[in-house]
C-alpha cells in the first residue's frame, strides 16, 4: 500500500505500515553518494545509507513530528541538505582516517582564521582552534564512549559555518565562565562590605505608573523587534552588524529601529492616558528622568513571552 505524503504516523500504523523509514532507494542512494563524494571519505554505500537514514530520522525528513515522509519527500529532504559536509562530518565522527585527512585539508586553515577573527588574537585563536580540534577528534569520553561534537551536525547549514558557531560558543562560554570566577586572593573579596543603604524611598506614583507602562509596552513587541532593540541598545551592535546577521540592508534596520521606538513611545503615551492622565501630563511623565525609574531594560527585554527552550529544558 502506498503511503500518501505527509500521512500521520497513526494513519500509517493503522494501515499496517511501519513508521520506520525504509532503506533509501538504491538509485537515489547511488546518486547521492556520488554527489557527496563519499568514496573520498572511504565510506561504502551501506555506510552512506546509514548516515543518511540517521540524519533523516533525526529530523523526521523535515516534517512535523508524527508525519511519515514519502520517498519523494525523503529525496527532497536529502537534496536540501549539505550532503558532502554531512557525510564528511559523520565519517569523521566515526573515526575514518581518510575522512579526517580530508577534513584537515579542507578546514584546518579556515578554522584557524575563524578562531583568530573571533578572539581577535592569533595566539588565543590558535589555542581555541586547537582545543576544538581535540574535542572534535573525540578525545572527550563520556560514559566510556568517545564523544565527537561532529555527531550533532545535521547538514542544514554549512560545515564551516557550524565550526565557526561552535568556536564562538566555546569562546563565549570560556569568557563568561572566566568572568564568574574570581581568585580567592583577590583583595577586593576581603574588604568589609559597607552597611546596606537605608530603605530607598518609594518613587512617586507617576514614576511607578511609567515603569509599569514601559514594561507592558516592551513585552508586547514582536520577537524580531525585541531582538533589534536588544542588539542595538543593550549589546551596542552597529546597524551594519545587525543588518549582516539578518541579511537586510543597514537602512532597513535603521528604519525598523526608528519605527519601533516611535511605536513604543506612542504605546506608552496611550497607556498613560488610558490610566487617567491627560495628554499633557502623560507627556510630562514620559519626560521623567530615566534615573528615577526602577526599570531594568536588559532584564525586561530578556524576559521572553514564549520560552521555547526553557520548555524543552523542563521536559
Amino acid at each position: 500500500m502506498e503511503i500518501a505524503p505527509s500521512q500521520s504516523v497513526e494513519t500509517a500504523a493503522g494501515a499496517g505500515v511501519s513508521p520506520e523509514p525504509d532503506a533509501i532507494d538504491g538509485a537515489l542512494l547511488e546518486e547521492l553518494s556520488r554527489e557527496c563524494d563519499a568514496a573520498a571519505c572511504g565510506l561504502t554505500l551501506g555506510e552512506v545509507d546509514l548516515i543518511l537514514r540517521r540524519a533523516g530520522t533525526a529530523q523526521n525528513y523535515g516534517l512535523r513530528t508524527g508525519e511519515i515522509a514519502s520517498r519523494l519527500q525523503q529525496a527532497g529532504f536529502f537534496r536540501n541538505l549539505r550532503l558532502a559536509d554531512l557525510v564528511l562530518a559523520q565519517a569523521c565522527a566515526q573515526g575514518s582516517e581518510r575522512a579526517w585527512e580530508r577534513f584537515i585539508a579542507l578546514y584546518q586553515q579556515p578554522l584557524i582564521r575563524a578562531a583568530i577573527a573571533i578572539t581577535g588574537s592569533e595566539t588565543l585563536g590558535r589555542e581555541l582552534a586547537d582545543s576544538l580540534y581535540a574535542e572534535l577528534y573525540g578525545l572527550t569520553m563520556r560514559d566510556g564512549e568517545r564523544r565527537c561534537p561532529l555527531d550533532s551536525y545535521k547538514g542544514r547549514g554549512s560545515l564551516i559555518g557550524w565550526l565557526r558557531t561552535t568556536l564562538a560558543q566555546r569562546h563565549v562560554d570560556h569568557y563568561r565562565r572566566g568572568r564568574l570566577e574570581q581568585p580567592l586572593d583577590d583583595p577586593l573579596n576581603n574588604y568589609d562590605p559597607p552597611a546596606p543603604d537605608p530603605e530607598p524611598e518609594k518613587p512617586p506614583a507617576e514614576i511607578q505608573l511609567l515603569g509599569r507602562t514601559i514594561e507592558e509596552a516592551l513585552r508586547q513587541r514582536p520577537v524580531e523587534e525585541r531582538f533589534l532593540l536588544a542588539s542595538y541598545y543593550i549589546d551596542g551592535r552597529t546597524l551594519l552588524q545587525i543588518a549582516q546577521l539578518l541579511h537586510v540592508h543597514e537602512a532597513t534596520v535603521s528604519r525598523k529601529l526608528r519605527r519601533v521606538t516611535g511605536d513604543i513611545r506612542k504605546r506608552i503615551l496611550r497607556n498613560l492616558r488610558d490610566s487617567g492622565l491627560s495628554r499633557r501630563a502623560a507627556e510630562e511623565t514620559l519626560g521623567a528622568d530615566p534615573r528615577d525609574l526602577e526599570l531594568n531594560l536588559k532584564k525586561l527585554l530578556q524576559n521572553p513571552q514564549s520560552d521555547a527552550f526553557q520548555e524543552k529544558a523542563a521536559r
Binding site: G62, P110, R113, A114, A115, I116, A117, I118, P149, S152, Y153, K154, R156, G157, S158, G161, W162, R164, T165, T166, L167, A168, Q169, R170, H171, V172, D173, R176, V223, E224, R226, F227, A230, S231, I234, D235, R237, Q241, Q244, L245, H247, K298, L301, Q302, N303, P304, Q305, S306, D307, A308, F309, Q310, K312, A313
Partner: protein, 402 residues
C-alpha cells in the same frame, strides 16, 4: 535542539548556524529569534560567528585577487547612473540660471560680445558649495575677468568710444527677478574659479608711487584694448547683479581691493585712471558702485569715510557712509567731470600735519574751526573734467580750481 555546551538551555550550533545562514524554516526561525532576543549569550555567539565569516573571508579574497569583468561592469553601472544624473542636473541648472535676453537693441549688440570675452567656464564644480563660497567665487571671477587676456572682439567695445552707453546697457541687462539672480551667481562668475595663489597674484598690491601709477595708466590702460576688456568684464559683472545684492557685492569686494591696493597715507585708492592730458582719459571703473538713479559710477575715490563718485553724465556724488547713501554735489567746475581721484599731499609742515583739518585740505589753512580728527590722512580730492582741467577739494563739497 542540541547543544554541546549547555544542553537544552540554548539552541545548538546547528540551529544557530542555520539561523545565521538563513536556512531555517519560518517557525523555527521565529523560535530562534525569540530566544536570541532574550539571550545575550546566544546573541554574542551569532554575532561572533558572523564576525568570523567576514574576518575569515577577507584574507582569502585578498590573497587571491581575481578579475571579474561582469562584476566590474556591474559596479561601473553604479557609477555611471549618478554621474549621468549629476550631468543632467548641472545642465538643467545652467539652462535655468542663464540670463534671459532683454529686448534692448543696444544690449543685443553688447551682450554676445560680452559673453565671448568672459573666460570659458570650467566644467568642474565642487559639490555642496555654500552661499559664502559662491560669493567668494564670484568675486574671484570678477577679478580674474579684470585681468584676463585681451581678445580681438573686445576692441569693438572700447568704452572711450561711447562710455555713456555702458551704464545704459548695464541697466538694461538687469534681470527682472532680483531674488533669483541673487541666489544664482553671475554667469561668468559662477563657472570660473581661481586657485588661491592665482587669486593672490591677481590681487597683487600695486605700487603707490607716481611713476608706477603713470606706467600703469599709460602702459596698459591708456585707451586701448586692455581697458576695453576690463571695462567690459566689469560691465558684465555689474549688469548681472540685481538691486537686492548690490550692497552685498560692494561690501564684499571693495575691502579686498582696498586691502590689496597700497594705501597712500591711509587713503585707499579705488580708481586708477589714465592721466593723458591731450585726449579723453580712459576710465577704469573702480567697482560696481551704483549711484542714485541706478547709474553706475565711472570713477570713484575714497578718503577715510568719504567717497566721491562721478556718474556717466558728469554729476558728482558724495557719500559719507561707505556708499550707502549718496548726496549730489553742486557743480562748481566747468565741462563734464570724468574722473575723481585722491591726491596725496606730502611734505606738510609738522604743525599742519598734526592738525587734521589742515592736513585734510593739503594746506596749512583749515577751512573750518571744528576740532580735527586725531590723525587724518594727508590728501585732497581732485576731479578732472573732459578738458583735462582739475579742481580740488578737501571735503568733497567745496571745490577750487587748481
Amino acid at each position: 535542539m542540541n547543544s554541546t555546551s549547555q544542553p537544552d538551555l540554548h539552541p545548538g550550533a546547528e540551529s544557530l548556524n542555520a539561523f545565521v545562514e538563513q536556512v531555517l524554516a519560518e517557525p523555527e526561525r521565529e523560535r530562534i529569534l525569540g530566544h536570541l532576543a532574550s539571550c545575550s549569550r546566544c546573541r554574542q555567539v551569532v554575532y561572533l560567528a558572523q564576525q568570523a565569516v567576514s574576518g575569515a573571508e577577507t584574507p582569502a579574497s585578498a590573497a587571491t585577487p581575481t578579475f571579474r569583468p561582469a562584476r566590474l561592469r556591474t559596479s561601473w553601472r553604479f557609477v555611471w547612473v549618478p554621474a549621468a544624473a549629476m550631468a543632467a542636473i548641472v545642465t538643467l541648472a545652467i539652462i535655468l540660471h542663464r540670463p534671459h535676453p532683454v529686448p534692448n537693441s543696444e544690449l543685443a549688440r553688447v551682450a554676445p560680445q560680452t559673453e565671448e570675452a568672459v573666460p570659458k567656464p570650467s566644467s568642474q564644480k565642487a559639490p555642496g558649495t555654500g552661499t559664502a563660497q559662491s560669493q567668494v567665487a564670484a568675486n574671484l571671477s570678477v577679478q580674474k575677468a579684470l585681468s584676463a587676456p585681451v581678445r580681438a572682439p573686445a576692441r569693438t567695445l572700447a568704452p572711450e568710444t561711447n562710455p555713456a552707453a555702458l551704464p545704459a546697457a548695464a541697466g538694461a541687462m538687469e534681470p527682472p527677478d532680483a531674488k533669483r539672480q541673487a541666489a544664482a551667481m553671475p554667469p561668468g562668475a559662477s563657472e570660473e574659479r581661481l586657485s588661491g595663489r592665482e587669486a593672490l597674484e591677481q590681487f597683487k598690491p600695486e605700487p603707490a608711487d607716481a611713476a608706477h601709477q603713470a606706467q600703469f595708466a599709460s602702459g596698459s590702460l591708456a585707451g586701448n584694448a586692455p581697458a576695453a576688456r576690463i571695462t567690459q568684464a566689469r560691465m558684465k559683472s555689474t549688469a548681472s547683479l540685481p538691486l537686492a545684492s548690490r550692497s552685498l557685492t560692494v561690501t564684499a569686494s571693495a575691502p579686498q581691493v582696498e586691502m590689496k591696493a597700497a594705501p597712500i597715507d591711509g587713503v585707499g585708492v579705488m580708481a586708477k585712471p589714465s592721466l593723458g592730458t591731450n585726449r579723453i582719459p580712459v576710465i577704469r571703473m573702480p567697482d560696481t558702485t551704483i549711484l542714485p538713479g541706478g547709474q553706475i559710477a565711472v570713477s570713484t575715490a575714497t578718503a577715510r569715510k568719504r567717497t566721491l563718485a562721478i556718474d556717466p553724465a558728469g554729476a558728482l556724488f558724495l557719500s559719507e557712509d561707505s556708499g550707502r547713501h549718496w548726496e549730489s554735489v553742486v557743480r562748481q567746475w566747468t565741462g563734464r567731470a570724468v574722473e575723481v581721484r585722491v591726491k596725496p599731499v606730502r611734505n606738510l609742515p609738522l604743525a599742519a600735519s598734526a592738525s587734521g583739518e589742515a592736513a585734510w585740505h593739503g594746506t596749512s589753512q583749515p577751512v573750518s574751526g571744528k576740532p580735527a580728527p586725531a590723525s587724518p590722512p594727508a590728501a585732497v580730492f581732485e576731479i578732472v573734467n573732459d578738458s583735462g582741467q582739475t579742481w580740488s577739494s578737501a571735503d568733497g563739497k567745496t571745490w577750487k580750481a587748481n
